[in-house]
Symmetry: C2
Subunit: 511 residues, 2 copies
Amino acid sequence: MNGAESLIKTLVKNSVNVCFANPGTSEMHFVAALDSVPEMRGVLGLFEGVCTGAADAYYRMTGKPACTLMHCGPGMANGIANLHNAWRAKTGMVNIVGDHASFHLQYDAPLTTDIVSLAKPFSGWIRSSDSAKTISQDAAEAITVARGMPGQIATLILPADTAWTEASSNLVIAKEPELPGFDEATALEIAQLLKKGEPTLLLMSGQALLHEGLELASRIAKKTGAKLMSNRPSPRLQRGAGRPVLDSLAYPVADAVEQLKAFKTIILIGTEQPVSFFGYPNSPSRLATEDAQLIQLASAHENVLAALEFLAEELGAVSSGERYSLNLPDLPTGELNLDKVFQSVAALLPENAILVNEAITSFRGAALATARPHDVLQGTGGAIGHGLPESVGAAVACPDRKVVCLQADGSAMYTIQALWTMARERLDVVTVLFNNRAYRILQGEMTKVGATKRGQTADQLLNLDNPVLDFVSLANGMGVEASRALTADDFNKQLAGAIAKKGPHLIEIMV
Amino acid sequence: MNGAESLIKTLVKNSVNVCFANPGTSEMHFVAALDSVPEMRGVLGLFEGVCTGAADAYYRMTGKPACTLMHCGPGMANGIANLHNAWRAKTGMVNIVGDHASFHLQYDAPLTTDIVSLAKPFSGWIRSSDSAKTISQDAAEAITVARGMPGQIATLILPADTAWTEASSNLVIAKEPELPGFDEATALEIAQLLKKGEPTLLLMSGQALLHEGLELASRIAKKTGAKLMSNRPSPRLQRGAGRPVLDSLAYPVADAVEQLKAFKTIILIGTEQPVSFFGYPNSPSRLATEDAQLIQLASAHENVLAALEFLAEELGAVSSGERYSLNLPDLPTGELNLDKVFQSVAALLPENAILVNEAITSFRGAALATARPHDVLQGTGGAIGHGLPESVGAAVACPDRKVVCLQADGSAMYTIQALWTMARERLDVVTVLFNNRAYRILQGEMTKVGATKRGQTADQLLNLDNPVLDFVSLANGMGVEASRALTADDFNKQLAGAIAKKGPHLIEIMV
């Protein structure tokens, strides 16, 4: 077998069996080798940002790394925005980037690029695999890094001649990553703080927001009176009826400061101190009050689950915490507005759905806390254009679950090509497209930074109303069925219909 | 005035008066300041690759740098593919990247990125402008670099607080870049070689392919019997009736080797030795024969025009060289195929049109050499998705000239958002969209790299036929009028109609 086959077989042997790909010439042996390894599913994206966003969501939903396949420096560059989000989400991923044949690099042909410089900002591990003999070992090491606690992006650069040269048939099993620990002394100190019963917040991210982590935190809250809140970035939230009560740190600085001001103690679990998303004139970057005590139970690079178990045991926190109960709203009627859209989504969202949220200023999530239980994927690194690609990855990861993507118009346009992959793979995704015909968040930000004089030129850079984007045409152009809802009744009917059928559908609303 | 105003006023004072922008929060002061400087034209792109490709073409057509405006590391990353092309084209550009306020960087908020590491591979100059007091000086230095010979990308990182802090009203005039020289001794040696009359090729790029450069080369060819050929990358070609006869180096290795094998001497003018685009098994990277003598009159970093003038004078090359004469084909009829498309384009292309070529495997350019005189912009760095953005930039640069974009389907999808900017700005661009429903070039490359076993999985990664993209819907969705031509007569009529009207139109052909 050649290096490409050795690579793919090593990936599959180590349970990396989905490849989100946008290949070019230097990756042709990899593509050819896919035919000899049917266990590897190749999913084509028409733009690399679709592939990287999909691989990110795949990991968030399964805890397993997928791989990407991209073409040289410029191809990978197209995937960087969502690689940045994945890096902030602490997603594990094997990021495979084809490169020129090693003997060809000296000629500085037009596509030659410094891939390492481009990959550094988001990669926990980078290696150019310079021999077909070692490609299996290189891949195994990349997989170990990707699977670590926390997950990391391992960028494996694949020179074309490594792919086409004869390789060993010996496939390397990836070593299990080393489990990190946590500091017991700090955990004991935190237990003492919690026993005082002062206003305390457990501010959490990553593993602390999922499954046993969230359960343990909820029991600790019940036992001590502490409150639970998710910090940014939150790669995945488990929400809805039956799930522990959990606040989220607000985006607007004033709201976030208000949320945090009552707490004398903030315990950081799998996260760092709460900070504002942007710095503004005359506004704090640190969101906690000056005199609040911040103490970290475990960083994202420590064993968050073990630390939570230790703390719960130390506190004797065994009984279940406060949970949301099911409370579905009635279906709205009449004129459509944002509140009614979310009322309808809350009423119709099926059990176990995956809700991908890039609605940005259109988001009105309050009603969803008491909807049927679901997962929420959201932006983690602030790079926009993640919603549609994440929906692709979530649907590939969980084919038996409905994906509902709440997608703003401006951000949709960065990775609109994801719709084609939804059609190609017949992915079970309902996209609700909020067409407000503006970069609405920027209109707000403009005021916040004190840039108040907004004239015609500035307006033209923030409005999307000339011409108005027609997302029904865009979806149809990529093979996705689509409809436009002008009233609440339209929307209810179209959403119920889209949820009832299998496969992709887009509903555009002009709100 | 604040730092943002100081920056924009400095740009305008130094004749940088177009900004291709996709701003975010950290750029809001820049956007607000645009209103106070009406001389700066802001052109919005819905994706950063549109902005960078447009700025590249703007420079190629005017010789003047434009500026971009992008949002932090991930926003700039979306523009890197076309920045890579611009770097290879030796395009001058002031690449403005907003960043967090300087006091906010220490908090490692989600959007924080290593912008410098991302910018290094394509930037000739990088600076983070850390004070509103020096922003005018920083901008002036960036402009000097961008205007140099050759042009370079100057990346100016703009922290949000630099933009909003009070700045000096003193606006700095950019220094003229230093003119490089060339080596006269080598030029004299080349003159001697040319006087021998052996089979000699003048292989050229950059300035040597334009205006006086091309005229001088043509005279030298006439005097000495040498042939003229463009090497890769060729940022801009001047073609059609009345222009000097000029070959282009072929992309397929075997064809290129065949083109070069007769030449004992290859004189490199504004370019490096001819190399294959990719390395293949059992195929040379160096395209010239082993015994050919390669000698460089001037690199792209030397004064190519002065070297050509010196050489022409030394040779007494004063009489005009061989030129193409006008020879328009008849309009084709009947079933549509690629040859007929190009026959029709050759017949109808108006005088002084700008032809942007990303047709890739669909390109059949032979007939265009004797069409009316026109300019050709084409890919320079191998990063695809340049055609539609370059058309935006060319149309902004030259509002009185018709832009005809020959665009393949697969590559169109990387930067399809450019259509919206064409509609927004009412740009005079006719796009001919070649929908062959495949990554056709990769199907060919797969055979060339020796990966012959192409099964169903590999096929799925190279075919775009499931579902078929409908570019009429995609164009309409972004406000661009569009039509589909199924016969040659359809195509003639639609192309003539689109050329006759002002504003954007897309013609899809299923070939």
